[in-house]
Amino acid sequence: MKKYLSIALLGLFIAGCHKTPPQPLGNGDVSKVIGQMADVMIHDVTNPPLASRFFAYTCLAGYEVLSQNDKQVKSMHGVLNDYPAIASPKQISGYNSQLSAILAMYETAGKLQPSGSLMLKNEGTFLDSCRKIGFSDEMIDSSKSYAKFISKKILAYAKADGYRKINNYPRYKLKHTPGSWDLTPPAYMLPVEPYFNTVRPFTLDSAAQFVPDPPIPFSTYKNSTFYKFLQLSYTKSGDGLKQEEKDIANFWDCNPFAVQNDGHMLIGLKKISPGAHWMGITNIACKQTKASFSKAIEVNTVVAIGLTDAFICCWDDKYRTNRIRPETAIRQYIDPHWKPLLQTPPFPEYISGHSVVSSASAVILTHYFGDNFKYTDNVEIGYGIPPRHFSSFTQAAKEAAISRFWGGIHFMDAIDNGIIQGNKVGNRVLDKLKQKGA
């Protein structure tokens, strides 16, 4: 009791000023939270669109703390759709804004993610290490109060984005028309997030702001364009793959849950989602450029926003077009024994999500770090996937896009148009930020 009292008194004295920490936090602290979130997502098998949404709101909580304390960091109010004007909590003082930003991220991820309790455990470990480097208990307590205050506001903003209304809607029904999407082997899982287009985007006017060209019309006539596409997928993405193409396809697989089916025994093989992969690249760039704490938060936030909006418009396309996957079409019309290199993810084909989100992310990262940014991507090294070297984000995005063709899970038009759509989303995000004069 006594101890708390003295803390409170101390708080009174230092009201109004925030203390300098023993040593400033860095981009590594930001990337650590993101990495831990990705681990929890793997555990929970969080689907790709939802994962991006978790990243976005979590980063926004950190960003909001900074924007209230760092004049260089502009508020998202007026930039993002419906983003509230959040007044800073005047009654809280003695906090450290960087610490508070990290804690706001933990608090938010802790509430959003199904196994959020693991994030709160991580938060505890993080605070222990802060204490070791000299953060006082008072500063930690104040920073946490601040973080919780902001986190609550961000969670309220998230709660109103329409995601939780989704379970009101009728569940997806297969169309059963020629050329329409069907469940895919081996687990025949139900489609992921058929109503993600009803989630409020951050920067888009609507999910349908950048509707791409329609997919090549389905046809089984040998002379049709579609059939040629089908043949192309069959010959080029099957046994005809070169080793390097296989390596690339595996590198960008990013399937959160590939099911291996052994009799009664099903085993889910897990990887990080495409969004988590690009968050990883973001933090590689931050580290390589020794980005400041603020910049790291900002770039992570903007990339996460871009990812979410990319998924929203891509998912709008997917469930509007309901196009058949190569695996289904090839097995039905060419070779019943054909198997794609990668396991087909459980949602319609058009357009390629990896193409959209990779391109959007590349546009944003190029804005922050410049073109011809050379880096080594070792994000999935823990999954037995060797690192790859890239000479620019754009090159990486293009490779990610074409990898879906080699993996046998996308047709070429879904990839080409996916890149176009992703570029539009990335630029839209940047435009919105510029309008505010960021």
Binding site: I42, H43, D44, V45, K111, Q113, P114, S115, G116, S117, Y163, R164, K165, I166, N167, N168, P170, R171, Y172, K173, L174, D182, L183, P185, P186, Y188, M189, L190, F257, V259, N261, D262, G263, H264, M265, L266, I267, G268, L269, K270, K271, T328, R331, Q332, P336, H337, G382, Y383, G384
Partner: protein
């Protein structure tokens, strides 16, 4: 001596002596049976390398050396097989090494059977092999009994090649029987694919079905003078890689004298019901005769379970009994994947044991849940036999799995440790090694004699958890009761001594068969015994259950009967013999040579009713609506109510005309009856204009007092309508007397609920017909209460809503399904009875312009059920109305009683604008939500953080799932009674429950039709229903083919068999209309069927 012992046991009722269970597990020291099926797991020997690594071994029993004592053989998958010679007094001697019947050492031995293959009177032994081993290690072995050596030991010689059986297979078990009735034993080899085929869709199945697979597919081999010839293809047996045969049950299932076969297939490959066409081939009639099957079908048993003389079929699966293991096993109902299985022809399969009762007319009613034997976890061998000698076959089920990897947490979270796929195999093995065994016990069920069973496992002596597989029953000590021998993984085999002979005073009769020719065991012989009105029936087929063969001595328990009136045996080749006044408590031998007669041809029963083409043709709609997509936590689907039927002579020509209601964008149609009894559709623009509505009920009555029957049609429906949809408005069509109908304008108030029924009566006694209209549901908002209506007629055909005046409580009385106006209290005024889902049967007395709830005056408690329909008539002719009410029935997972009610909690828990209905019912005396974790998370995203894994949800009750704040304001519906029930009035007009035959509980009852089919002046009943559009986890309800009940005029009813009644209504009956001398049946998608007495 014997009598003394038995009378001493008189005071003991079976199973009631708590100190002495029926079965006593004998210690190894006494029996000297030390066999254990020990598995050694390694990188190359584990479940990842071979799918059926934990399926266990078999047991075979029979008297090999002719000393009158049955000997026992065990197979070990990896360890050595053992043969134990019975030395009497429950002592055995291992003679495996001496007699040359050990088989090959090492992996992988499976089933074993004893049969006199060469017909020399001595039992031979056939051993099955499988596993991921080289082909030469998978050649099954036939050991021919060479007779005894000087020490009295039976000597064996491997003669596989001599008999033409030296080919490799992946075998589960071999079945010797005389399929062509030529007097020798042919061979059915049940094989399985050693690898899992995981891609099971239309494209793949079509492709792979065309491939033959001699090693994995099932084969039939004909015995030609002790050489076996493969006749699989010509015999019509499906042989392809889609084969996971785990058992066959062989019996004369359709009673035509020729042996038929039921094959259990694991995974999604469908089971088969091979009917012998008497010309050397079989036809799979499963989908014609059986409504649904087990999913992962394991062992089976085909035998007469209900003592009606017809073989029934029982298949095992893996549905656990307790809530926790169920919750760890189930994800979310995947309707699309289920439909895919249907599309590829894999039929309706659900994960639970199925008990298919043979209706004798080539249909089966699956009643495993009603019987209480549907949930026995991961089980292997079912063995029906009369263990307590009371005259009814009881049931033993072996159980257990060495590695419990069905756990959903395993699927979802074990992958956390498998990130690097290059080292997966070792990692997976490590994980496999960490998996605990399922730790369950085997089951014993006592047959209650009415198609239900009581779980007496503990009482009868099963106390140890084990991983038990093959098993056999046999009277090892010849004391007149059946002992049990069970093969266990990693644990010594169990020998259970049956103590019935010591404990109770029940009698028995054992019959040993001496067949003529090559079939010396008399396989396929049928024995019926009769005493008083009782009958029992057995067929000789020792190979049954799982990978095992039981005693070839037939065993009948006789209860208190010291003798039987008669016994008839009919041998497989047709010879028949009748014995009379056979004394009990001994073993008799029947010789085929003595069977000089032939089985008197059974009288062909002329069914009472016969299906004829419906005089009104109504096509089935192609409606593929799935109500569970609209509200995933809906309990039962509400759509699919078919074409409603109403009749009246609309044009005054003296013939009854029929209105067939509209649905699925098809307008209702008026059919005018012609002089010749044919029906002609009459185009009616008014009906056409309303075709977007779903007709839920229709009635003809004179609404505007012009003497002509007008038509009132209720609008209903669920899936495609919004709440308050304008298409839910009811309609009144006025008749000009010539059958021309026009819609009455402004005749009805606004009525926006989806409705179920309209019932007419002159409520206020003013001479004009008034109405009660029942509200069924609010589309998309189940189980919120819809509005019901009292509509009063102004005499000119204009109706006003006066519900509030008559009783405000009626407005939101519940989800009404049916109602009736009847004078309950004899005051000559119509009173109202209302029934509904989650509603008590409620009586409203009509007096002084009010309808007052008088339920307690008539019922001694509230009978709250999932009522579908009610029918009121004076069944016992005492002047007081009696009620028959159709309910869900008792053949379901959901159970309800006064102390353990089913409950439905509902509220918008997550405040997202949709109601969240949570069904709860009791499992093992605790109420749990039926909703699985994934379904809960799918309904409410806030639950994702609450239950990050399956384990955390597995034991959760409602108060653990929701916070006290969330439970504030929760609404609750409750049901204490799910049986279809007859309520009979007493002299005071009070209604009390009276028993209906068990067949009334087979399936949900949606129609109750009173009739007097035999014209004896007594009220008979026809109950129809079923629910084919059900939640996957509940499974479709299809066991009712039209249950005809003969009344005794006093309120007693007896079931008329399907064979006799002639009803064979497959599918959902939603309406029945007696028309002239016909019965017209309206099915769920609008098809009409007709039956006529003959």
């Amino acid at each position: 001596m014997c009598t003394l012992v038995m009378s001493a046991g008189c005071s003991h009722e079976p199973g009631t002596d708590s100190t002495q269970p029926l079965f006593k597990l004998l210690p190894q020291e006494q029996t000297h049976i030390d066999f254990a099926n020990t598995l050694t797991e390694g990188l190359n020997t584990n479940v990842l390398m071979y799918e059926y690594f934990y399926n266990g071994g078999g047991v075979a029993t029979g008297d090999l050396n002719g000393d009158g004592l049955p000997d026992v053989y065990f197979t070990g998958n990896m360890t050595d097989n053992k043969l134990y010679l019975n030395q009497g007094h429950m002592q055995f001697k291992d003679i495996t090494a001496e007699v040359g019947v050990a088989g090959r050492p090492g992996p992988w031995k499976t089933g074993v059977t004893m049969a006199d293959v060469n017909g020399d009177g001595k039992l031979d032994l056939y051993l099955c092999y499988s596993g991921k081993v080289r082909a030469e290690k998978r050649i099954n072995q036939l050991f021919i009994n060479q007779g005894n050596d000087a020490n009295g030991n039976p000597m064996f010689k491997d003669m596989t090649a001599d008999y033409g059986l030296d080919f490799p297979s992946f075998s589960t078990q071999a079945y010797f029987f005389d399929y062509d009735r030529d007097g020798d034993l042919d061979l059915l080899l049940v094989n399985h694919n050693p690898a899992r085929i995981s891609i099971i869709d239309d494209i793949y199945v079509k492709d792979v079905s065309a491939k033959r697979d001699a090693e994995s597919g099932i084969r039939l081999l004909r015995n030609d003078n002790n050489r076996f010839t493969d006749i699989t293809t010509n015999a019509g047996i499906v042989n392809n890689p889609l084969s996971y045969g785990l058992a066959a049950g062989i019996a004369d299932i359709n009673g035509d004298g020729w042996p038929d076969i039921y094959v259990s297939n694991d995974y999604s490959v469908p089971d088969r019901l091979y009917i012998n066409n008497a010309k050397g081939a079989f036809t799979d009639e499963l989908q014609k005769q059986i409504g649904h099957t087990s999913f992962y079908s394991m062992g089976n048993d085909v035998t007469d379970i209900n003592n009606d003389g017809k073989p029934d079929i029982y298949t095992l699966d893996m549905l656990p009994e307790d809530n926790k293991r169920q919750k760890l096993l189930f994800g979310i109902d995947n309707y699309e994947a289920f439909d895919l299985n249907l599309r590829v022809g894999f039929y309706y399969q659900y994960m639970r044991n199925m008990m298919q009762v043979n209706n004798g007319d080539n249909t089966f009613s699956e009643v495993g849940q009603l019987a209480g034997v549907s949930n026995t976890d991961w089980s292997w061998s079912p063995l029906f036999a009369d263990y307590d000698n009371d005259g009814w076959k009881d049931l033993f089920v072996s159980n257990g799995y060495t590695r419990d990897y069905t756990n959903m947490d395993f699927l979802k979270f074990m992958g956390d440790n498998l990130k690097d796929r290059r080292v997966m195999r070792q990692d997976l093995l490590n994980i496999v090694n960490q998996m605990p065994s399922s730790q369950v016990k085997s089951y014993l069920f006592k047959n209650n004699g009415n198609t239900t069973f009581a779980n007496v496992s503990q009482q009868w002596g099963i106390t140890l958890p084990s991983n038990s597989n093959g098993a056999a029953y046999v009277d090892l000590d010849n004391d007149g009761d059946l002992d049990l021998v069970v093969n266990n993984i990693n644990q010594p085999a169990f020998v259970y001594e049956n103590q019935a002979a010591k404990q109770n005073s029940n009698h028995y009769l054992a019959i040993s068969l001496k067949g003529a020719g090559g079939n010396t065991q008399g396989i396929g012989a049928k024995v019926s015994i009769y005493n008083g009105g009782k009958r029992q029936y057995l067929e000789q087929m020792p190979t049954r259950g799982f990978q095992s063969s039981v005693s070839p001595v037939l065993h009948f328990g006789l209860g208190k009967d010291k003798q039987i009136d008669s016994l008839r045996i009919t041998w497989q080749r047709g010879g028949s013999q009748l014995l009379t006044n056979v004394k009990a408590d001994k073993q008799i031998t029947l010789n085929e040579q003595d069977a000089k007669g032939s089985n008197p041809a059974s009288q062909p029963v002329k069914p009472i009713f016969k299906e004829i083409p419906s005089p009104i043709i109504s096509a089935e709609s192609d409606n593929t609506t799935n109500d569970f997509k609209r509200q995933p936590l809906l309990i039962n689907s509400i759509s699919f109510s078919g074409s409603v039927l109403a009749k009246a002579d609309v044009n005054g020509d003296g013939f009854e005309d029929v209105y067939v209601g509209g649905h699925d964008d098809k307008a209702g149609v008026l059919y005018l009856q012609q002089k010749d009894g044919k029906f002609a559709a009459k185009a009616t623009a008014a009906f056409e204009a309303d075709k977007k509505s779903t007709d839920a009920a229709a009635v003809f009555f004179d609404a505007n007092n012009d003497g002509k029957p007008d038509l009132y049609v209720c609008s209903g429906g669920y899936a495609d309508y919004k709440p308050d949809d304008a298409l839910l408005q009811d309609r009144l069509y006025l008749n000009d007397g010539k059958g021309n109908f026009t819609k009455a304008k402004d005749a009805l108030p606004k009525m926006a609920s989806s409705k179920s029924c309209v019932k007419v009566a002159d409520i206020n006694g003013d001479g004009f017909v008034d109405l009660f209209v029942g509200g069924r549901v609010i589309p998309g908002q189940y189980p919120e209460t819809p509005e019901s209506y009292i509509l009063i007629n102004d005499g000119k055909g204009k109706f006003s809503n006066q519900t509030a005046a008559y009783n405000p409580a009626l407005k939101n009385i519940g989800m009404v399904t049916d109602a009736a106006w009847v004078d309950m209290n004899g005051d000559k005024k119509p009173d109202l009875i209302v029934a509904g889902e989650w509603m008590p049967l409620t009586v409203f007395e009509n007096s002084n312009g009010k309808l007052s709830d008088a339920t307690t005056k008539y019922f001694d408690k509230k009978y709250t059920g999932w009522w579908n329909c009610i029918q009121v008539s004076d069944v016992n002719r005492d002047g007081h109305p009696d009620i028959v009410a159709g309910n869900l029935g008792l053949n379901t997972q959901c159970k309800a009683s006064d102390t353990e009610p089913a409950e439905l909690l509902y509220k918008d828990f997550d405040d997202n604008g949709s109601v969240d209905p949570i069904l709860c019912f009791y499992i093992q005396h605790t109420s749990y939500p039926y909703v699985t974790r994934d379904e809960m998370l799918d309904q409410m995203s806030m639950m994702r953080t609450r239950f990050p894994d399956y384990k955390s949800y597995a034991d959760a009750t409602v108060d653990k799932i929701f916070t006290p704040e969330e439970l504030q304001g929760v609404k609750k519906l409750s049901a204490n009674h799910l049986a279809t029930t007859l309520f009979i009035s007493n002299g005071q007009g009070k209604l009390r429950e009276a028993a209906l035959p068990i067949q009334a509980q087979y399936s949900p009852v949606y129609t109750i039709t009173p009739l007097d089919y035999d014209r004896d002046g007594k009220n008979d009943l026809l109950l129809c229903g079923n629910m084919n559009h059900a939640r996957i986890r509940f499974g479709k309800y299809d066991a009712n083919y039209g249950v005809l009940l003969k009344g005794d005029g006093k309120g007693g009813y007896s079931y008329v068999s399907q064979q006799q009644s002639g009803f064979s209504l497959k599918g959902d009956v939603r309406g029945v209309l007696p028309l002239n001398d016909l019965l017209l049946f309206s099915m769920d998608k609008g098809k009409l069927k007709a039956y006529k007495p003959q």
